[in-house]
């Protein structure tokens, strides 16, 4: 089999290098005039053009609005060393704005019944499109001003998906190679994109994603007649998985271990196709296990004017929140699917209550002694997370835990945890533990 490196001799990941605290050499205080002189000398090292070109605000607004339901706000990318994501602002809906999230174009030929850019939408906005140069310039300007941490680039399909995908990649290439942009880039892969384009996107971005939108092929067919779930979406996810794995194993590609440092993700529109929470979670378990997805995002369906689903009921936002909690239990707490299943009702839906507490009531036969419980057992107690479980394990090596307040000092949410704990033979039994 031909090695992946042989296909890509001409192509290497962009020279992304951030000078971190550890790498920079600090010079004692120097005069302001000397700094000015030095800046003049090293002006060719500076990134990008300084000012944004004249941009039509209507275009910026329309293409920005096109992504407001996309929920990826993470900028965590262990490219150099793990750094926390930074939220540069929050909107009045309490959501983080850390990336310049935009569509490349809002022109789309797909017929998704929930989307205002779909070809069948009766209140479709005027079509706008950026050029790669224009979009790269705006991104650089916002990044230099510290308004954003990077770019989240999605798009409608335009007249031709391939040419739009090419333009999106060109935008990112300009940023990385011409303007030495070291910020975070999340690039959406359009359904049906070619293998070549997917590989190029992976070389340049920190994260790529392709939206599943629905939990299965039959559900997708109910809300979109122009996308083939298996061929256009899942098959593309497998390309991404296989190419990333191939690069990791190919020793002829030095530095490729850092390819796509933030992995691949996906997003689902919750409730548009009438699927149950259990069906969604089943799909996500498959995605984590088989596709190697880094994480999934959920967006509660909200009917938009002019779309085919305009008259449908909006999904409550708590449904989205409960799905995120379940996802967290799967991914971070490592709950097994058979444990997760206990949180669903008979119809396969999650009630509007904490799923971890619901699972704990069914799983735990009796209260646990924090001095004897294993790490996995501690994690299954509501109010105890990975950090506080680790702290409990560390503290009890020094001295036994003898009181509730000791546990609370370790960051445990004691009110939620205490019905499930027995400390020094004493337990705080409440009806709450046994009620639904």
């Amino acid at each position: 089999m031909k090695k992946i490196s042989q296909h890509f001799d001409h192509f290497r990941p962009a020279g992304i290098q951030v000078i971190t605290e550890e790498h920079a050499i600090f010079i004692p205080m120097v005069s302001l005039e000397k700094i000015a002189h030095l800046a003049d000398d090293c002006r060719f090292d500076s990134i990008g053009p300084p000012a944004a070109a004249a941009i039509d605000p209507e275009k910026l607004r329309r293409l920005g609005e096109g992504t407001r339901h996309d929920v990826c706000a993470s900028t965590f990318s262990p490219r150099e060393r793990p750094l926390p994501g930074i939220c540069h602002a929050f909107t009045q809906d309490g959501r983080c704005v850390s990336l310049f999230k935009t569509l490349y174009t809002n022109h789309c030929t797909h017929q998704c019944s929930y989307c205002t850019n779909a070809s069948g939408c009766s209140k479709k906005a005027k079509a706008f499109s950026y050029t790669p140069e224009e979009l790269a310039r705006i991104t650089t300007s916002l990044y230099r001003g510290n308004y954003i941490e990077g770019l989240f680039l999605s798009s409608g399909s335009g007249r031709d998906e391939e040419s739009i995908m090419e333009d999106m990649i060109e935008t990112v290439r300009l940023l990385r190679e011409q303007w030495a942009f070291s910020g975070y880039i999340h690039l959406k892969v359009l359904p049906g994109a070619s293998q070549q384009h997917i590989q190029e996107a992976m070389m340049l971005a920190d994260r790529v994603s392709i939206n599943l939108e629905a939990a299965s092929a039959s559900h997708l067919s109910e809300i979109c007649t122009t996308k083939d779930y298996e061929r256009d979406i899942v098959q593309r996810q497998r390309y991404i998985r296989d190419f990333a794995a191939g690069c990791r194993e190919d020793s002829a590609l030095p530095g490729m271990g850092r390819l796509l440092p933030a992995g691949q993700t996906t997003q689902l529109v919750v409730g548009a196709a009438g699927e149950s929470d259990e069906e969604i979670l089943q799909r996500i378990v498959y995605e984590y296990r088989e596709i190697g997805l880094r994480r999934a995002y959920y967006s509660a369906f909200s009917p938009q004017a002019g779309t085919a689903l305009e008259g449908s009921s909006p999904q409550p936002l708590w449904r989205e929140r409960r799905l995120y909690q379940m996802d967290w239990l799967l991914r971070v707490y490592r709950f097994r699917p058979e444990e997760i299943r206990r949180a669903f009702d008979e119809g396969g839906f999650l009630p509007n209550s904490d799923p971890k507490a619901s699972i704990a009531r069914q799983l735990l036969d009796g209260p646990l002694d924090p001095n004897a419980a294993t790490y996995e057992e501690l994690l299954r107690i509501p109010g105890i997370g990975p950090k506080s479980a680790q702290r409990i394990m560390a503290l009890r090596k020094i001295r036994p835990i003898a009181s509730r307040s000791q546990i609370a000092d370790l960051g445990v949410r004691i009110r939620r945890a205490s019905p499930f704990l027995e400390i020094n033979g004493w337990r705080d039994s409440t009806l709450e533990m046994w009620s639904d």
């Binding site: 700094i35 090292d45 607004r61 705006i138 300007s141 001003g145 510290n146």
Partner: protein
Amino acid sequence: MRVPDNFLHYLSLHRQSGQRLLSEAQAFQAGEIELAVLPQQARIRKMVFEVMGEVHRMKAFVRLEPLGERVLYGFLQPRHRIGELICEHFARRNEGTIVVLGSGSESWTALLCGGRIYRDQGPGLTETVERLKKALPDCGGGMEPGSDVERLWQVYYDSQYCRERKNVEAFKRNMPRQDQESAGLRLVQRRRETTLDDFMGRETT
């Protein structure tokens, strides 16, 4: 948040820290501070987290205005002694560009050039920027707030709001007013400029 190995550095940047506290803190490891149950250790952890929290929020909320091609400047009036640290962060992020941060009374300047960080500390922001303008005659421009980039940002920021998800409590929790003021964010400033007319016959956006 976790107590980092270099927690003493963060502790030294706290506005209430002094030599006595620092020498006491030297006796502890980061792990001990992390699991602190004694009041003194818990106080150190709280102080370290206060500094780390402000560092994180200033990295997020400070906005930089261009002054020609080689200078970026912004308002910063932190509660703790983190001005230099934040300035260096932005210098690393913008190699080859001079970054000046500060307020009316003090300012910090940093430049990353050839893998080296050059720093200066001086009087108020306006004075430092004026000196830079003299030293870099072609840097042009003035210190007028509200650049093209700011206007672009405002359009984009407004486009991201989902009315059906309105949650002002979460907004306030995530963007504490105190931190917005420290970073000179205009979200706060605009509220302060609001007059009675704004509440009469005009809908808030």
